[in-house]
Symmetry: C2
């Protein structure tokens, strides 16, 4: 449909310098990550949770909406929101992360949504489990993928498409997969998939199809654009690559002190500071978080708090006691029970997915303030 | 406090090319504008409304929070959230826009938050009117500013500060100014100022101080950083400039058709299309919206719907009937009752504020789709 009229750079073009193109900026002003200070909340408030939308956010009239569950099944279903709410419901706390998180720190940088490190969020999702729904429609075979189709529509890779992703039938039978209609106890906000989305705990965000309109059982692998072309870790264009599935471990730090508006460099006094943050992995439980105050040369283990839920991030803290003023680079890295450790070097690939290299926060420790504008209520 | 250790470019540095620096990207991934398709909602859902935070979003424990109303007053007050909620309450629908909206379209571009055109949103704000509060504390004189101090703290212009802004006492006596504790019927989300913020209908966003902790009456003009240095329209560094106050008119269009993921170019069929959007001005009611399909050469008047509230945007629509396939540049411009008209050229100034030049949306009209991936539920 595009007839190649777009003279902009295509998604995936490699950019050598650190400067961001206008195309990337257009995505960056629409989509947003979670400001790092929001790591303070175990459950991310609505509006702070990261959002990525490939196309436009559909405005859905719920009275017109229905979900079809069909394809190669014996008893297809058509359900409206009330039908879904009348089914058994579960609430689970899940950390979601965009597969492209960390992309803008790659060099060269594949052209796409330019995330730094904070495309993440944790919410309480309420919905009805997928498994009984699948049992009810009775797939004719267990060899194919189940495809989840959203209402969002656009063009990517020169292909006009609805956003859709597939999951093997056996993966769909995990108990904790939800057809979700509420987030943090409220109806889904439009940008998170109102009225209904998929939640697949442990997998990167592309799997959690929003504005769900159809669940379709195939007798084969699904080969749509977002499945077979996008979301692969490839070292070159010829590399068949590895499909992106579960979230690799990452730890993030609440940047301590106060920021400079433009540089975001942090300033803090010469004193003991309790550093804290959260760590997660979709592969296995987090078993260790380490902190470095020298840019990743030396590491010390942080204290992990108890896990709040199997697929939610885990809180950690670390007492940092800098002994002299100066500039420091704080880093944090997570290890999970499957032995995955965050790398200090970039995890480069052609599409810029799964770059879970460690966070680096530049801080300046100062003896005392030397130019402070006292707030008006203290000047009187 | 900074001791000039930041080697990043300072806010306000002029950037010649269209490429966005890493400093700007750090702001762009934290703050976000309103995706243009959200113009469909008269009231912007939480999470889609634009957000700009100079420093960090404070996490406030409302049981610890209090608002002091003091300075040069006869009867200072200290109020908690319950005190505020026990006072008379009003709900008003207000369109807020960042003063820097449009900055990233300037050439050269002043370094700061790189907004394109959509740093806007409309919400129903509930709170208690400011005027009776001021009457109660009895300012000793009516010649100075009232300063609103937020809990957010950081460094800007090499000055450590709490975010704060002043308003002349007489302006504070407008009936519609609110000390607000709810947005769209819910407690303020953290990013919009929980627990309490100021709402000054008609003024750009910098005036609506979030995380309000103090209201302080001065006997003089307020000369804090965000008042005397920032938020001025200046042609050069020597220019004393004009302070930014009320919102200049702007109209925006819901981009029609479907987007290409990366370029955001829009594709639509050769047919009649009802274009729609919203227009607003903080200076006077919107009296006219015009649409151009040829990049601003010729203009035709759109149909305006009734206003929903004095300080809220106004809906408009326009039937566009392109007669042949090809590329078009859609533009829209607003005029208000004070005679302010959006310019087609950039409104350049040193800080990149108030650039309300007309929106430009690139669309491609096509005869029919030539490569469509049918969704899975239609392929079975």
């Amino acid at each position: 449909m595009t007839n190649k009229v777009t003279d902009s750079l295509s998604a995936g073009t490699l950019i050598e310098g650190p400067e961001i193109t206008q195309s990337e900026l257009q995505l960056a002003v629409r989509n947003h990550s979670m400001p790092l200070e929001a790591l303070q909340y175990a459950i991310t408030p609505i509006g702070l949770h990261y959002v990525l939308t490939h196309f436009d956010i559909p405005a859905v009239d719920p009275t017109d909406w229905a979900l079809t569950v069909g394809g190669r099944v014996r008893h297809p279903l058509r359900l409206n929101v009330e039908h879904l709410k009348a089914r058994p419901s579960t609430t689970i706390t899940v950390t979601l992360e965009c597969a492209g998180n960390g992309r803008a720190r790659l060099s060269p940088r594949p052209l796409s949504q330019p995330w730094l490190v904070e495309a993440v969020g944790t919410a309480e999702w309420t919905g009805t489990p997928l498994r009984p729904l699948l049992d009810e429609v009775e797939p004719m075979d267990d060899t194919g993928d189940v495809v989840f189709t959203g209402l969002d529509r656009g063009i990517q890779g020169d292909i006009e498409q609805h956003y859709e992703r597939g999951l093997p039938v056996e993966e769909c039978r995990r108990d904790e997969i939800l057809v979700a209609y509420a987030m943090n106890g409220q109806p889904l906000p439009p940008q998170h998939g109102f009225p209904v989305r998929l939640i697949v705990p442990g997998w990167y965000g592309m799997t959690h199809v929003k504005w769900l309109r159809a669940i379709t059982v195939l007798d084969d692998r699904f080969l749509g654009y977002q499945q077979a072309s996008a979301y692969h870790s490839r070292l070159s264009d010829d590399d068949p690559g590895v499909p992106v599935t579960r979230i690799l471990p990452r730890a993030l730090l609440v940047p301590p002190g106060i920021p400079d508006f433009m540089s975001r460099v942090r300033f803090l006094g010469l004193a003991r500071h309790v550093l804290s943050g959260r760590a997660w992995s979709g592969c296995a439980p987090i078993t260790r978080v380490e902190v470095s105050a020298d840019g990743g040369i030396s590491w010390t283990e942080a204290t992990l708090e108890d896990s709040i839920a199997p697929y939610a991030w885990r809180s950690w803290s670390y007492v940092w006691d800098p002994t002299k003023p100066g500039e420091y680079e704080l880093c944090v890295r997570a290890t999970d029970d499957a032995g995955n450790v965050q790398p200090t070097a970039q995890n480069w690939n052609r599409e810029g997915v799964q770059n879970n290299s460690v966070q680096r926060v530049r801080v300046v420790v100062v003896e005392s303030s030397n130019q402070v504008q006292a707030p008006a209520d203290r000047r009187i």
